[in-house]
């Protein structure tokens, strides 16, 4: 790379600029050296000295204007172009510094000297010359090393059609998949262990497919079914249950880094993100072909639709690329746009292809053959796309400043507005605009400090008025108030290729990169991007072509990972040079081929995998086997795994018999206005409480970034900032503290105990058996029953004495509650309760919107109280404790 560093000596003393900013500055042949010298010696220092505090990347772009960037001046800010090349008299910049217009005097209170004004006028007259960026020579050159890697690296070669190992005489394999595995086991000198026992297998397959434990009735039915296809019956039942989509949809939501808020610098809620969540779950339940699933998420808005419903569904699918982490507080719009595009490129390339294309944003990829130029080929596609997340970037915004309802997808035609409503809206807008002007006048003036009649500074009062009127206008004009809206994508009004950004700096424009796809996968007949379209549809087609070997390999491997504990390629999100190589390359290709041939059906893939002999192996192991292959890479047994956060929570609710299997409408987060969330605010507390009190499946809990429910956070919930194909599985004391003391665990243990005790058909022995069955999915041995009985007796006797007062108090409360419940009142109705709380929420958000400086709020932590869960008597307490012990046990926390 040929680069020449400009001498920094031309800059005035006392001023330093990051060298990288000008690293590429160099006079190109057409630029007059004398004019350049004039710029560097006279013009730039003048701008630096007088304008940079308000109009540069190191500070801000007041009024949208930057003077440290040629494009910044040419494009100008809110008032339009700052300069017209060759015409100083028409240039806003000259007007502003001349102080001839009372409304536009820059710098304020400090008119430049006539000599300085002449310098800038002269410069504009002479063409406003600015040193050109140097484009590194190799920016668009091809690299032999890249060519070699494209030809050699295993993952981007076409799928092979491997032969199934014959293995004559072996009775062990049930499926060709088993034959591939056994052949490899033979090679390495390992033999598969015995099959798992039926109950273990039932618990395993039920959790794996639905994220739920088998119910006692399901256990009984399976044990009673002695037919040879008993397992198939179970698997088909599980695949047909809605719980399948809730479990496997969640796997995809991990990959889609699903979150219901922006996270990042300002945490703004995404009240409509849940539509995408439901779309994913439904797609899995409908067994939407995976290629179609991907096409819809990348370009659903551009696909043909047979019905209104289908069109709606496909639009919602594009939420995939709109729900990422966003920094709405990014003050420079071009950076906001390029950062979001980067997030989209990272997500789509890692999730579907398991390559890290975003590494090429600033420089050619260090390991994989992805050039910066290719990155911007993809970027052009997303640059031609509107990222409809309902948000805009804003510097130092508060209240509803970040909300941009025009940047949402409208799903249902908004009800026709009559003239009266339109007039109302226009009036509200005028009022809000006037209030804004009034506030802006007071903002930086001494008058703003004067006290209004209510004793508050006038500035603050004006800001509050503006916020209130802005909120009124928003609520009148918000499409979400009229009908259904969603987050997602649409083609931008203007489509076209975009420039390579030198070293990834959004403002440093290099040559144009023609829109296209990554070269590491190229095949005959692949689509190309039409000039008048964004190219997203073609990207979707390229991704899902049967000739694209990555897409099918990656999803087959993800599926394997979820069922066998680790992928055939362990690095499930990285099939690049630094990723793992497949343990069974032939099997991987075999599965990918079969998957595509079978119509990209995930359900049939899952079905086939769990019915293999290999999946049904026991988890037993000898020390010898463990020494040979501790990680079970060759699949000689079934690897035990810890339940994931959602499974643990759902299983506790299921054991207590209180799991609500219906899908809640929307999300609690849907109630939030698009106003910054603070972790110590009332609205955040409301989200936390909603998560804590919910009995719905965990996939439906509010998942605002940085406000993940404790029940999930403690057990390694997926990172919501990045594609996560494989979660951590840690064992730390906070988990034990959670299992010992958290109200959720204690409440459900108590509920389980109360149900057991209320059942008069049971005696203590059968109650213990039932407790084991609902928690760990098996009946206890006689020794275990004895141990439990002894425990109950001892616990009850100690608790009876020690906790007598507590029990009396609980019983008193229960009686009072009973009396209350017998009154014909509606105050206890949950719906009303929620409405009441929502009212509180609206009030809290309103209050947050009324703060003059959005950062000037109560900064200390809120006081947190822990809910006490207490039993009514010693016997109940003992049983609750027994159940809680079972929920804390390794047997509950792991599937084998």
């Amino acid at each position: 790379m040929k680069l020449r560093r400009l001498s920094l000596a031309v800059f005035t003393a006392g001023m330093l600029i990051s060298p990288t900013q000008y690293l590429f500055g160099q006079a190109d042949a057409k630029q007059d050296p004398a004019k350049l010298e004039f710029f560097e010696k006279k013009v730039r220092p003048l701008l630096v000295e007088n304008c940079y505090n308000c109009h540069s990347a190191d500070n801000k772009a007041a009024g949208g204007l930057r003077v440290d960037d040629h494009n910044g001046l040419l494009q100008g800010g809110g008032r339009g172009k700052a300069l017209v090349i060759g015409k100083p008299e028409e240039s806003l910049l000259i007007k502003a510094i001349s102080h001839t217009d009372n409304k536009l005097k820059m710098p304020p209170n400090n008119r430049l000297t006539d000599e300085q004004i002449d310098i800038l006028s002269q410069w504009i007259k002479d063409g406003a010359v600015w040193p050109a960026l140097e484009i590194p020579d190799d920016l668009t050159a091809s690299s032999p090393e890249y060519d070699r890697l494209r030809k050699e690296h295993w993952s981007w070669q076409p799928l092979k059609s491997p032969e199934v190992p014959a293995l004559p005489g072996s009775a062990w394999p049930r499926d060709n998949i088993d034959r591939f595995l056994l052949s490899k086991l033979n090679d390495v000198g390992l033999t598969p262990v015995a099959d798992a026992d039926r109950l273990t297998l039932l618990r395993r397959v039920t959790f794996d497919l639905t994220g739920l434990p088998p119910s006692p009735a399901e256990i009984a039915a399976f044990q009673a079914d002695q037919s040879s296809n008993a397992l198939e019956t179970v698997v088909d039942r599980l695949l047909q249950s809605t719980a399948f989509g809730e479990r496997w949809g969640r796997h995809w939501l991990d990959v889609a880094r699903f979150g219901e808020s922006t996270g990042s610098a300002r945490n703004l809620p995404y009240p409509h993100a849940w539509r995408y969540r439901d779309y994913v779950i439904d797609a899995l339940n409908k067994d939407k072909p995976y290629d179609q699933f991907i096409r819809e998420q990348v370009a659903g808005d551009l696909l043909p639709a047979d019905s209104e419903a289908q069109s709606k569904e496909q639009k919602i699918a594009t939420g995939f690329l709109a729900i990422g982490v966003k920094d709405v507080n990014q003050r420079f719009k071009v950076r906001y746009i390029m950062d979001n595009i980067d997030e989209q490129i990272d997500t789509v390339s890692r999730s579907v292809l398991a390559v890290t294309a975003s590494c090429a944003r600033c420089h050619d990829h260090k390991f994989d053959p992805i050039s910066t130029s290719e990155y911007y080929s993809l970027a052009g596609i997303f640059h031609s796309t509107d990222d409809c997340s309902g948000l805009r970037n804003k510097m130092g915004g508060g209240g509803l400043d970040y909300y941009d309802p025009k940047m949402l997808l409208v799903l249902s035609a908004a009800s026709q507005l009559d003239a009266e409503q339109e007039a109302k809206m226009a009036k509200a807008k005028q009022a809000a605009d006037d209030a804004r002007t009034a506030f802006e006048t007071l903002r930086d003036s001494a008058e703003g400090d004067e006290k209004a009649p209510n004793g508050r500074p006038k500035r603050q009062v004006a800001r509050q008025k503006w916020n209130r009127l802005q909120a009124e206008y928003m609520s009148l004009s918000d499409p979400a108030a009229f009908g259904e809206v969603a987050m997602g994508l649409r083609d931008a009004a203007k489509v076209g290729d975009t420039e390579i950004r030198i070293r990834g700096e959004a403002e440093k424009l290099g040559p144009i990169a023609q829109r296209g796809f990554l070269k590491l996968v190229e095949f005959e007949g692949q689509p190309s991007v039409p000039a008048d379209k964004s190219g997203r549809l073609e990207l979707a087609q390229w991704l899902t072509s049967p000739k694209n070997p990555l897409t099918s390999r990656v999803i087959v491997n993800r599926t394997w990972h979820h069922l066998f504990g680790a992928g055939l390629v362990r690095s499930v999100d990285n099939f690049g040079i630094t990723g793992d190589t497949p343990s069974h390359p032939e099997l991987l290709d075999y599965l990918a081929n079969e998957f595509v041939a079978d119509g990209w059906s995930l359900k049939r893939l899952v079905r086939r995998l769990v019915l293999t002999r290999a999946y049904g192996l026991s988890s037993a192991a000898t020390d010898e086997q463990l020494t040979l292959d501790p990680a079970n890479r060759w699949v000689w047994r079934h690897s035990p795994r810890r339940l994931q956060a959602e499974e643990l929570r759902d299983a506790m609710l299921a054991a207590a018999g209180v799991l609500d299997r219906t899908r809640p409408t929307g999300s609690v987060a849907a109630e939030l206005k698009v106003i910054e969330l603070r972790n110590n605010g009332t609205e955040a507390q409301r989200m936390v409480d909603a998560g804590r009190n919910s009995r719905a499946r965990s996939v439906y809990l509010p998942l605002l970034r940085t406000l993940v429910p404790t029940s999930l956070e403690v057990f390694d919930f997926a990172d919501q900032g990045l594609v996560t194909g494989s979660r951590d599985s840690t064992t730390v004391p906070t988990q034990a503290l959670y299992l010992l003391n958290d109200a959720f665990v204690r409440r459900n243990s108590l509920a389980t105990a109360e149900t057991l005790l209320a059942n008069s058909n049971l005696n203590d022995q059968t109650r213990i058996e039932a407790a084991y069955l609902t928690t760990v999915g098996r009946t206890p041995s006689p020794t275990e029953v004895q141990r439990a009985q002894f425990y109950l007796a001892e616990y009850q006797s100690v608790a009876g004495e020690a906790l007598a007062e507590e029990f009396a108090a609980v019983q008193q409360r229960e009686q009072a509650a009973l009396a209350e419940a017998q009154r014909p009142a509606d105050a206890a109705e949950p719906a009303n309760l929620i409405a009441a709380k929502a009212g509180g929420l609206a009030a809290a958000q309103q209050a947050a919107a009324l703060v003059a400086n959005p950062d000037d709020v109560e900064q200390t932590e809120m006081v947190t109280t822990e809910e006490a869960v207490q039993s009514r008597d010693a016997r109940t307490a003992a049983w609750a404790s027994l159940v809680q012990a079972l929920l804390g046990s390794g047997e509950f926390r792991f599937v084998r």
Partner: protein, 459 residues
């Protein structure tokens, strides 16, 4: 187990505290569980936070970071600029009108370092301090700069592990009965939990958040201790049954140990977080009082107690420095809240011998301009601002780097946020280029592809 009496030797008291976690307690437990029979497995599974040796020789074993969120004004506190004082009201560099500080500066200590009248107590310790005065960062907005200061991420929407998580990942922690990384009263916005999150590092490296009265969720036993012990014994019986099964989950040792740790934490941590255990004289020295005005003092005492007990990284926070307006009164209020507790913390750490191996860091995400904003305010400045350090590994009564004559741009000893991170890691005995974590095919670092260690400040 926790003894709140100040013993005759503060040093031995600290040792005893830490031993509760890593010394006898741990060995006894290990013996009880038979872990010693299979040491290799036990080490990998059960103790991800066990102390690890430093990569480089270094004195600092732990850090206390006093974070002044919102950007305190340097020229009114720790940066004396004579030329600014002489040119009040005149046009300043970059546009705008210079505003001299309304607060008087005076030289202090043998080093003769000027400190403004807003920090009379800290000024008494100025010969312990090591100023870095040439800092600069990338983004002139709080959220992005706060996130960059805490995680190194230049683009705020890239979620990266926080500095404390990297330290924990690199060094483990001294006391296994306590979280190794505690953040008190962290920012409720500006990235919120991102600032103490572990991102793609395993979750046990993330910071534990407590409020300024020391509340930690799920720490309080919900039943009487003997009853809870019974329950734990039953859980452990079940776990040992399962462990006896061939091919049982290898994490079971970890499950068993985590219960014992949790039980011990319940016993010790609440006492540790209860500052009322301190003698009145100590509370008075820090200026502890109820309500928001006393928040920082409470945080300072908590920070000392936690560091003393071996927590690797403790962060505390004072917000409200964003003085676009109300600069004068705002500075008075905020310095009043922070001066005495900060000075008391330095004195307390020194008196207990903790300053020998604890590094204190004090400062904001960026600075403020010497020019005026509105009637009584100063705008953000990312091009030159100071922080100070004290304690383990850094020079005393020393200044490194400088801004220009008005305090706008760093002109000497320039240190980017990445350089600060590289230097902090080096002070803790870690090589910022070698402390990497492979995730999704890439080796990540706190300092990404940048960072220079500034050796000039090292003692």
């Amino acid at each position: 187990m926790f003894n709140d009496q100040v013993s005759d030797s503060a040093f031995s008291r600290r040792k005893a505290l830490q031993a509760a976690g890593t010394g006898f307690g741990y060995l006894a437990l290990a013996g009880m569980l038979g872990l010693q029979n299979k040491p290799a497995r036990a080490a990998s599974v059960t103790a991800p936070l066990a102390p690890k040796p430093q990569q480089l020789p270094a004195k600092a074993k732990r850090i206390i970071f006093l974070f002044m969120e919102g950007a305190m004004s340097p020229v009114d506190t720790f940066e004396y600029k004579a030329k600014l004082q002489d040119n009040d009201g005149k046009p300043g560099p970059g546009g705008g009108k210079l505003v001299a500080s309304k607060f008087k500066f005076q030289q202090h200590g043998q080093s003769g370092t000027p400190v403004s009248e807003l920090y009379p107590n800290v000024a008494q310790h100025v010969d312990k301090l090591c100023f870095i005065r040439g800092l600069h960062t990338d983004t002139p907005a709080h959220p992005q700069a706060v996130i960059q200061l805490h995680t190194g991420a230049r683009v705020a929407s890239l979620t990266r592990p926080s500095m404390g998580s990297w330290l924990l990942y690199g060094l483990g922690t001294e006391n296994q009965d306590l979280p190794g990384y505690i953040t008190i009263n962290p920012s409720p916005n500006f990235g919120g939990a991102v600032n103490y999150g572990s991102a793609f590092l395993p979750a046990h490296f993330q910071g534990t958040r407590i409020n300024d009265s020391g509340f930690l969720p799920n720490l309080k036993p919900q039943v009487l201790s003997p009853l809870q012990r019974k329950q734990i014994d039953l859980v452990q019986d079940m776990n040992r049954d399962l462990r006896a099964v061939p091919g049982a989950p290898s994490e079971l040792d970890g499950v068993i140990e985590s219960y014992e740790l949790a039980f011990r934490m319940q016993g010790q941590v609440p006492d540790l977080l209860d500052i009322s255990k301190e003698p009145q004289s100590v509370l008075d020295a820090y200026g502890v009082k109820p309500g928001p005005a006393g928040s920082f003092a409470r945080q300072c005492i908590l920070a000392r107690r936690l560091s003393e007990a071996g927590v690797r990284f403790v962060q505390i926070r004072q917000g409200g420095w964003d003085h676009h307006n109300n600069l004068h009164k705002g500075l008075i209020a905020n310095s009043a809240a922070t001066d005495q507790p900060t000075a008391a913390l330095l004195a307390d750490l020194e008196q207990r011998g903790l300053l020998e191996d604890t590094l204190v860091l004090f400062g904001s995400e960026f600075g403020r301009l010497p020019t005026a904003q509105g009637v009584d305010g100063r705008d953000h400045n990312i091009t030159g601002y100071p922080m100070w350090m004290a304690g383990a590994g850094v020079k005393k009564g020393f200044s490194y780097g400088a801004t220009d004559e008005y305090g706008t741009h760093a002109v000497e000893g320039r240190m980017h946020t990445m350089d600060l991170h590289a230097t902090l890691l080096a002070l803790m005995g870690l090589d910022h280029e070698a402390l990497t974590y492979r995730y999704a095919g890439r080796d990540f670092r706190l300092t990404d592809v940048a960072g220079n260690v500034v050796r000039e400040i090292m003692a």
